[in-house]
């Protein structure tokens, strides 16, 4: 078998899925896994038996890791505070991640350390999503005392349940609304670890360059595509791209990581570094870019795949895209197995897997290798990539967003090249803004024109009859 890692990853994911839907004792599954492990040691010389044991072990490991991740420690805030809590609580904790501004509200995640309810105070753990008013200068790593009511997003409706599950996958079990300024007290102003504050500072600097030379929709779209910040994108643009099936353009993805790798290696080549050192030095820089953009699932996937490819060059092995995507999936799921149930994770991997699997077969079936006219061949290959990705994700999009967009393939053929040019001009704008500000306005004007062209294409494409259909919920 050419790709054993694919089978093991599939078994691991199957274990996670089964553990997510069935109830069984952790100790029972663990004992079973230990038995299989002993069997693995005993039958390590018997090829086929060992392979079967290994697949079973991967399956059980997936189940155990998910079950373990869902066990709440005794000091978890969910065990201390009832969801029907009516009294305000005092919570002491540390801000986890940079706060976000959404309209009039400042939103951040607080890692709780102590909680005071009624007349008692206890140590605790777990995360709370805090909504407060814009006005305070808050940053990652700051310790705060907050007073407010804790509540869970309960209520009827699938969207409410989905939101609750989405928060729980990030270990956020409560929401707190802090309405007045005396209810928020800064205990100390210490920042988080150096690396996090360093990447946050770089992100702010790069955002500053984007918003210095662009404004409005072009600035917000470029901010999303280069730095992963989607907060400023107007709703109508977001809805437009969801309906046309091109909203993935607004997410930092493999293409961006590829451009970053290319720029880094080109720059290191100019410094006359040997090839080995070019690749070695690029690894921490790629990881830094991943952290700058918020380390979302598509970026982590692309970063891990890039690391696997670079590592294969360094150890003089042939890179294999199937193994690379399996390693990326395992890395994400070992940290947080609940991500397997996240729509973003599923869409990201489904699109890449369908391109890897379907595109070569569609290309062969279409007989494109025999086509001599290169520009037409290039366009048709683009169509097939778009079609492969659409075939792999249409079901998931229909399930999660209740939208079916037959026009997605056409929209992506038109929008994808524009998005590539926007990304390239965006990186050029940032580089010019850092090194040669006199050139930055040129790239900014080009970028503006490309963004408006992309919005116009999306608007035009949606005017085609039957472009998208809303499915009944």
């Amino acid at each position: 078998m050419k790709h054993p890692l694919a089978v093991l990853t599939a078994a691991f994911c199957a274990g996670i899925v089964l553990a997510g839907h069935l109830r069984f004792a952790w100790l029972f599954v663990y004992s079973l896994a230990v038995l299989f492990l002993l069997g693995g040691f005993l039958f390590s010389r018997k090829g086929r038996v060992f392979d079967i044991i290994l697949v079973c072990l991967a399956f059980l490991l997936g189940a155990i890791i998910l079950k373990t991740s869902r066990i709440l420690p005794g000091c978890h805030i969910f065990k201390i505070v009832s969801y029907r809590n009516r009294q305000p609580c005092i919570v002491k904790g540390v801000i986890n991640g940079e706060p976000e501004i959404r309209g009039q509200n400042l939103i951040f995640v607080l890692r709780a350390e102590e909680i005071g309810v009624a007349s008692s105070s206890r140590t605790c753990c777990g995360k709370i999503l805090v909504h407060t008013r814009v006005g305070e200068e808050l940053h990652d790593g700051q310790r705060l005392l907050l007073k407010g009511k804790l509540y869970q997003p309960w209520g009827p409706g699938e969207s409410r349940r989905r939101y609750r599950d989405y928060l729980r996958r990030q270990d956020i079990w409560f929401i707190m609304s802090v309405k007045n300024s005396p209810a928020l007290v800064k205990v100390d102003s210490r920042r988080s670890c150096f690396y996090r504050s360093f990447t946050a500072a770089i992100k702010r600097r790069l955002e500053g360059i984007i918003f210095q030379y662009l404004n409005g929709i072009p600035a917000s779209i470029l901010d999303a595509m280069i730095l992963g910040e989607r907060r400023d994108i107007p709703d109508f643009v977001n809805n437009l791209m969801v309906k046309s099936g091109t909203v993935h353009i607004l997410v930092v993805s493999g293409f961006n990581v590829g451009i970053v790798v290319f720029i880094i290696i080109l720059f290191l080549r100019l410094l006359r570094l040997p090839r080995y050192w070019r690749f070695l030095v690029s690894l921490p820089l790629i990881i830094t870019y991943c952290l700058i953009t918020g380390a979302s699932n598509p970026v982590v996937r692309a970063t891990v795949m890039a690391i696997v490819f670079i590592a294969s060059y360094l150890i003089k092995r042939d890179p294999d895209i199937c193994n690379a995507i399996c390693v990326a999936a395992l890395v994400i799921l070992l940290f947080n197995p609940n991500q397997l149930f996240d729509a973003g994770f599923q869409l990201s991997f489904a699109s890449v897997i369908s391109i890897i699997y379907l595109y070569p077969r569609l290309k062969q079936a279409a007989g494109l290798n025999r086509l001599q006219f290169r520009p037409l061949r290039f366009v048709l290959e683009g169509c097939l990539v778009s079609l492969s990705a659409w075939l792999g994700t249409a079901g998931l999009v229909a399930c999660y967003f209740k939208i079916f967009s037959p026009v997605t393939v056409l929209a992506n053929i038109l929008v994808a090249p524009l998005a590539s040019l926007i990304t390239l001009s965006g990186f050029s704008l940032i580089t010019a803004g850092l090194c040669c500000p006199a050139l930055a306005p040129l790239f900014a004007r080009a970028n503006e024109a490309l963004v408006w062209a992309m919005v116009a294409v999306n608007t035009l494409v949606l005017k085609i009859p039957g472009a998208y259909l809303r499915l009944p919920s």
Binding site: R48, I64, I71, I90, G116, R122
Partner: protein
Amino acid sequence: MFAFTRQERQVVLFLVTLALAGCALNFAAKLNSKSSVMPVLNLDIGKVDLNRADKQMLMEMPGIGEKLAERILEYRTREGAFGEVEELKNISGINNYRYEKLKGYFTVK
């Protein structure tokens, strides 16, 4: 099926053993973690200091409108400072019932 060499099998078994050991440790740590009682957190947090609040801060409190906030500030200017929260009862518009509703939001330092 997978055609692993002997060395590869040993590495895989080692990694799986590590993963299972890690899961067991994680499970044990979560079971044994307990919440311990701490000294009571600052109960005055969220309360407005009547001697330092401005009009905006007073108006953020439930039940305090613009006129009542102005009367509170006038009282503070006239008397110099609040000695205790109960002095709110001396302000026009705050009777015993309203005071009971408001007293939890204020402190005097």
